[in-house]
């Protein structure tokens, strides 16, 4: 990445006190994103990807959570920032779109009110000016007859429309960074593609940085510049999207890619993958209260090519031949041979 990062996360750790003991949910995550760039953070449920971004904005209650590390945004360390200063970052600095548009909008307030309130607080607009801009925003996110929609309640809208409203809310204060936390997971597949395309388009127009949090490598393949794969609160592999998809180096990343259905007809020589051929990674992610020693993936790992896998935590290191300031990196002790993908 050439440009100076707008948000740089360094060795972020989140531990949540539970009745069973401390749950180490995020264990030393570092990434950075530059203006106009799209970073995808990919992982299964429970890999700590959501918690890591929520904790940046102070949206994970402390206590029971404790957050350490640094997150540099516009010269401020978000982790150390007091709540009142952090509140002013939320919205105009870093905005979020959440997973479930059915529950993320307030059912008893109109769409217009939910759009204007942030602008009144952060941009100092009066109600009339904010309403004017709210209509423009609804138009921007592709909602038909935006002016009438301002008086609608969320239950009047479909799921896809609600997610567009959520995006309009997130964009209302012109954030420098937009975080989309599983923003398409709850939507129909056709709507998913529309939302992904909409955010990509708005990003080109507004030049913001976008962080996509998703469990679905397929969703981000077309739009991400860089991908970081998370497992058990760690990044196990990261790199430019093309490098990572063309040459995945971590057994976990390979498992994730193998579990994706691919469109096409193999019988006619296409590159499709039959549903029956979809691979499954056996086992479950580890319990964050009882993380295994060594590489957190080793109990499920089909490779385990090094005896240290079960005892030492493999550091994230550049893959052989990787170059540049942000090279393709992987957290393994060994180098897997190039994958035989038919």
């Amino acid at each position: 990445m050439a440009a100076e990062p707008v948000l740089a996360v360094d060795d972020l750790r989140v531990t949540i006190a539970t009745r069973r003991g401390p749950a180490r949910v995020v264990n030393g995550v570092s990434w950075a994103v530059a203006p106009g760039e799209t970073l995808a953070v990919v992982g299964e449920s429970g890999s700590g990807k959501s918690v890591s971004v929520l904790s940046l904005l102070g949206l994970v209650p402390r206590p029971p959570a404790t957050v350490t590390g640094r997150a540099t945004f516009q010269g401020q360390d978000l982790v150390a920032l007091p709540e009142e200063a952090l509140r002013k970052v939320r919205g105009p600095g870093i905005a979020m779109v959440f997973q479930d548009p059915m529950t993320s909008l307030n059912p008893v307030l109109t769409v217009g009110r939910q759009l204007t309130e942030g602008m009144e607080v952060h941009l100092g607009l009066d109600r009339r000016a904010a309403t004017e801009r709210a209509a423009e925003l609804l138009d921007l996110v592709g909602i038909p007859s935006p002016r009438e929609r301002l008086a609608s309640y969320p239950h009047h809208l479909s799921g896809g429309m609600r997610q567009r409203v959520m995006i309009a809310v997130a964009l209302s204060c012109e954030p420098a960074v937009l975080i989309a936390d599983e923003a398409t997971t709850a939507l129909d597949v056709t709507i998913q593609a529309q939302i992904v395309e909409l955010i990509a388009e708005l990003q080109r127009e507004l030049g913001m940085a976008v962080v996509w949090i998703t469990h679905d490598l397929g969703v981000v393949a077309g739009i991400a510049d860089r991908v970081a794969v998370m497992y058990a609160g760690r990044i196990v592999e990261e790199g430019a999207v093309d490098d990572l998809y063309a040459d995945p180096r971590h057994p976990y990343t390979r498992g994730l890619l193998a579990s994706l259905p691919v469109l096409g007809d193999r019988a006619r020589g296409g590159e499709g993958r039959h549903p029956a051929d979809l691979a499954v990674i056996p086992g479950l992610p580890p319990d964050p209260v009882h993380l295994p020693p060594g590489c957190p993936f080793h109990p499920r790992c089909p490779v385990r090519a090094d005896e240290r896998c079960a005892t030492e935590e493999p550091p994230l290191r550049p893959v052989p031949g990787a170059r540049g300031p942000a090279p393709h990196r992987v957290a393994t002790f060994y180098d897997l041979p190039p994958e035989d993908r038919r």
């Binding site: 509140r87 959440f98 307030n106 008893v108 307030l109």
Partner: protein, 313 residues
């Protein structure tokens, strides 16, 4: 919204009709001869027959019911056996006292429940929460007549701040009306408030955990806006229902507290009617209580549609 309103009013009319049948039947099934009781020791057969005929008690039950219903619809609930005065008049006389106490108590209850429930929801398992839980548990457990007696003992007999009993009409003397209202309203309101606190706490706790609250915080809204506009508004939706039920209950008279404070309300009136087998009065009072419940429920449902836009369709 208009269709919703019409449908709800229509439903209420049907229910009211059913209630009138039930009220009429139950009272006629209760053993005891009201005329005999009214005459007491001065019983003689001719007076008895005359009274029975005048009250229409010798008509077939169905005829009695139709007559009573027809009169009731025109506001005539009959004449009290006991006092010989129209039932409607007796009830209207007591109505202001009951309305004052019921609404006064509900205001007190909400003033206690909303802040207390909200504060304990905001800091669950904190000292404040435990104190609030204890207070509301105590409020539910302590009998209201005991609370009433203690309140009289402390605030009127010992401190002499407030009158111990009686009701003064609002139009007669607003200041005295308020002074007389404070103690009974606080006593009754404390009990209702204790119940309501629980509801406010649990529904606020639920709203705090909802995704839209996280969205509100993610927008960078100040905490008071997040709590006031997003959490509280949603939390109050179920509270409206419970408040309505409490209010309807209070409108049908809190007999014991009325007796302790010599509060001339509908509860005492209904109690006297039962004691003296004053059929017309009792029928009128019970019918009125049913109307209270229906009206309050109707208002609650309409209010519901206002606070929760998903309802009105």
């Amino acid at each position: 919204m208009t269709r919703y309103l019409l449908r709800r009013v229509g439903q209420s009319v049907v229910v009211l009709f059913g209630v009138s049948v039930a009220v009429f039947s139950i009272i006629h099934l209760v053993p005891g001869d009201p005329v005999r009781l009214a005459l007491g020791t001065r019983f003689d057969q001719r007076t008895y027959d005359a009274l029975v005929a005048r009250a229409g008690l010798d008509d077939p039950v169905l005829v009695q019911y139709v007559n009573w219903l027809g009169n009731a619809l025109t506001g005539d609930l009959g004449v009290s056996f006991r006092s010989g005065r129209p039932v409607t008049e007796l009830i209207l006389e007591r109505l202001p006292a009951t309305l004052s106490l019921a609404f006064g108590a509900i205001v007190v209850a909400l003033l206690i429940a909303v802040p207390l429930g909200l504060v304990s929801a905001l800091r669950p398992r904190s000292a404040v929460d435990y104190v609030a839980t204890f207070v509301s548990q105590a409020g539910i457990s302590i009998p209201d007549f005991w609370l009433a007696i203690v309140a009289i003992l402390v605030f009127s007999l010992t401190l002499g701040w407030l009158p111990s009993s009686g009701y003064v009409g609002l139009t007669e003397d607003p200041v005295e009306w308020a002074r007389h209202l404070v103690l009974p309203a606080v006593v009754v309101g404390t009990v209702s408030g204790a119940v309501l606190t629980r509801f406010v706490r649990s529904s606020a706790l639920e709203a705090l955990g909802e995704d839209y609250t996280r969205t509100a915080r993610a927008k960078g809204l100040p905490r008071r806006v997040v709590i006031g506009r997003h959490v509280l508004r949603n939390a109050l939706v179920p509270v409206v229902t419970v408040t309505g039920i409490q209010l309807a209950y209070l409108l049908s008279g809190v007999v014991i507290v009325e007796v302790v404070f010599a509060w001339q309300g509908l509860g005492q009136l209904a109690l006297q009617a039962v004691e003296t087998r004053d059929y017309p009065l009792l029928q009128g009072a019970v019918l009125l209580f049913a109307v209270f419940f229906l009206v309050v429920n109707l208002v609650v449902d309409l209010l519901y549609a206002v606070v929760d836009p998903r309802i009105s369709r």
